[in-house]
């Protein structure tokens, strides 16, 4: 059973979003997604300052045998990326909701969060995929 955090919002493409007090949000991939990928060997991240629309390609996570695009779950401007992933992509496997975050984005519109899945909805999606 994969770990789904109640306080987060999720995209159907398995990214999670955590809103901070300053109007920015952290984005990562879910525990389910990291587990499905297997050991990550490389993470390609967007550039700081880049403006993204919802579902724009924001990066790529690679394992030995697969590569998967990361899509922006919300629109906004990239304000930070997790530079530690350059040398230690395994952080995404070890701590997908913490040290394994991918990037931080300044939201254009907080209302977009409502379009994303709640933890319960995401659980339902995962159950139906099995």
């Amino acid at each position: 059973m994969s770990d789904i955090r109640a306080e987060l919002r999720y995209a159907t493409s398995h990214e999670w979003v955590r809103l901070e007090d300053d109007g920015t949000a952290y984005v990562g991939i879910s525990d389910h997604a990291q587990d499905a990928m297997g050991d990550l060997v490389y993470v390609e991240l967007p550039e700081v300052g880049q403006a993204l629309e919802v579902t724009d390609e924001a990066g790529v996570v690679e394992s030995v045998k697969a590569a998967s695009d990361i899509y922006a779950p919300v629109s906004g401007e990239i304000v930070a990326i997790n530079e530690a992933l350059e040398d230690t992509p395994e952080l995404v496997n070890q701590d997908p909701y913490g040290d394994g975050w991918l990037f931080r984005i300044r939201l254009n519109d907080k209302a977009e969060l409502e379009q994303l899945l709640s933890a319960d909805d995401y659980r339902t999606q995962l159950d139906s995929e099995d």
Partner: protein
């Protein structure tokens, strides 16, 4: 059985001042190089190995023995057609007159070579039912590129610019979508139904004025013949698109069904599969393209033509002004084409037909035998083509043994593993292609190995997870290889 105790690199054998002296001319006095400006000269010699001739011969001979190869083992890699590579083809292609011919030698001194290439073009036209052939693409993927580029050139020549999409069945080889993108197209995937055929209703719905063409193999990557090919061709053609045939599986139908008769407008052939040229540890291949009448003006150059007086000559941009152009510096992998020519001449008409027949016989026999020992076919209701798919999803779930574990264990039985995890839509799968050149005994040995491994999987699954045990190395850490890149030897 490791045949070399260690994996010493050629660089580790190097000693300053040692040379294989007979191999190179004597050093020249420095003044003979005075015309080269000093500023353009390298400061230090490159750190190439300094070793003796015997050391080189022994090193690479020993290295070669650390490979599985068709000459040593049964090699049933699906979609790769690992049939016997005739030694006679190698000898013929290595004749001094062929090896010494400069690619830009005048036609007056190229008639022998050109005659072989002209005839090969004609043979390939006949056996595929196409109207024109260019031999230049250097591998299947380049043949695919040529094919889709011709489709694009055709639409552009008609000022039909609205066609932006290539349709591809979801089970296709990865080269298909990669090629479509290289030709500036968007890719639209078409689903495959539970019997391995294309979902025709979905295909029809996907066709439209934006459709440039469809890329597919037949028999498909699911190892079965696409029975609705007429309907597929009609749907794509009616939408104004063209049909591209990926020749990866041509061995299955060689001499039995011709892609041109199925309605395909353009095809590529993998001569390193169907025409028995060697795979060489990953290449070189050769991927000639064949086309229907309407695509002939766009064929990649050069092509060999024959004048009325029987002289052969190159047809180039002047003869084919609408050609998609040159795909290599010269005219492709000539040495591979000569090997294919040898093979085609030895087989001749009857031999060509037997390829499709006996590769299909071998695959259906192997499928039935494996089914009988408890393997699960992915498409149990279907005939195998020249290959077929087994799925080990059940074993993965109940025994915790993956298709990869079984593949690795096969190596310990001195059997090369089939293709694993392709096509992606069948979980835990093997794609198995025995080819027409293996004896019944060889097929039976593979069945016996699989029977034994399935028993091991039930009794001692851990044994499989640790396999192989008999190879020069145990299972390798791919994750470390990708995370801590070591691509060149950095020590001197």
């Amino acid at each position: 059985m490791s045949t070399q105790a260690d994996n010493t690199l050629i660089f580790e054998l190097s000693r300053p001042g040692r040379r294989a002296a007979a191999q190179a001319p004597r050093a020249l006095p420095a003044e003979r190089l005075s015309a080269i400006p000093a500023a353009l000269r390298r400061k230090q010699r490159p750190a190439l190995p300094e070793v003796s001739e015997l050391q080189v011969v022994r090193h690479y001979t020993n290295l070669s023995t650390r490979n599985f190869a068709i000459d040593k083992q049964f090699y049933p890699l699906g979609s790769c057609t690992m049939k016997y590579n005739p030694r006679g083809a190698n000898r013929a292609a290595m004749l001094p007159g062929f090896l010494g011919r400069h690619p830009l030698a005048p036609e007056s001194h190229s008639q022998g070579y050109l005659a072989c290439m002209f005839e090969l073009q004609e043979f390939l036209k006949e056996v595929t039912g196409m109207q024109g052939v260019s031999l230049t693409p250097m591998a299947g993927a380049q043949g695919e590129f040529a094919g889709v580029a011709m489709i694009r050139a055709y639409h552009e020549a008609r000022n039909d610019d609205a066609r932006t999409e290539i349709l591809i069945p979801e089970a296709a080889h990865g080269t298909n979508p990669a090629t479509a993108v290289m030709c500036g197209y968007k890719v639209r995937e078409v689903p495959v139904n539970k019997d391995g055929d294309v979902d025709l209703a979905a295909l029809k719905a996907a066709c439209g004025p934006q459709t440039a063409g469809l890329m597919m193999t037949n028999p498909s990557t699911c190892g079965v013949f696409e029975r609705q090919i007429d309907g597929i061709a009609k749907a794509v053609h009616e939408a104004g698109g063209l049909l591209y045939y990926d020749g990866a599986n041509l061995n299955a139908i060689l001499g039995k069904v011709r892609p041109g008769d199925m309605g395909f407008d353009v095809i590529h052939m993998n001569l390193h599969k169907t025409f028995a040229t060697p795979h060489g540890g990953g290449g070189p291949g050769a991927g000639p393209v064949g086309v229907s009448e309407r695509l002939k003006p766009f064929l990649p150059t050069p092509i060999v033509g024959r004048d009325d007086d029987g002289r052969y000559r190159w047809l180039d941009q002047n003869d084919l002004p609408q050609s998609i152009g040159h795909l290599s510096a010269f005219m492709g992998n000539a040495g591979v084409l000569l090997r294919a020519y040898f093979y085609a001449r030895v087989l001749g008409r009857e031999g060509m037909i037997r390829v499709g027949e006996y590769s299909t016989l071998a695959a259906n026999y192997l499928l039935k035998r494996l089914e009988a020992i408890g393997c699960t076919p992915a498409y149990p209701e279907r005939r195998a083509s020249h290959e077929f798919i087994l799925t080990f999803a059940k074993e993965a779930k109940t025994l915790g043994v993956s298709a990869m574990d079984i593949a690795k264990r096969l190596l310990d039985y001195n059997q090369h593993a089939p293709t694993t995890y392709f096509p992606l839509l069948v979980p835990e799968c093997f794609l198995i292609e025995p080819t027409e050149t293996e004896t019944k005994e060889a097929l039976d040995e593979f069945v016996a190995a699989m029977e034994s491994i399935l028993a091991e999987a039930r009794d001692n699954p851990e044994l499989l997870k640790g396999a192989p045990y008999s190879q020069p190395v145990r299972r390798l850490d791919d994750v470390k290889a990708a995370r801590e890149l070591d691509l060149v030897w950095s020590k001197l």
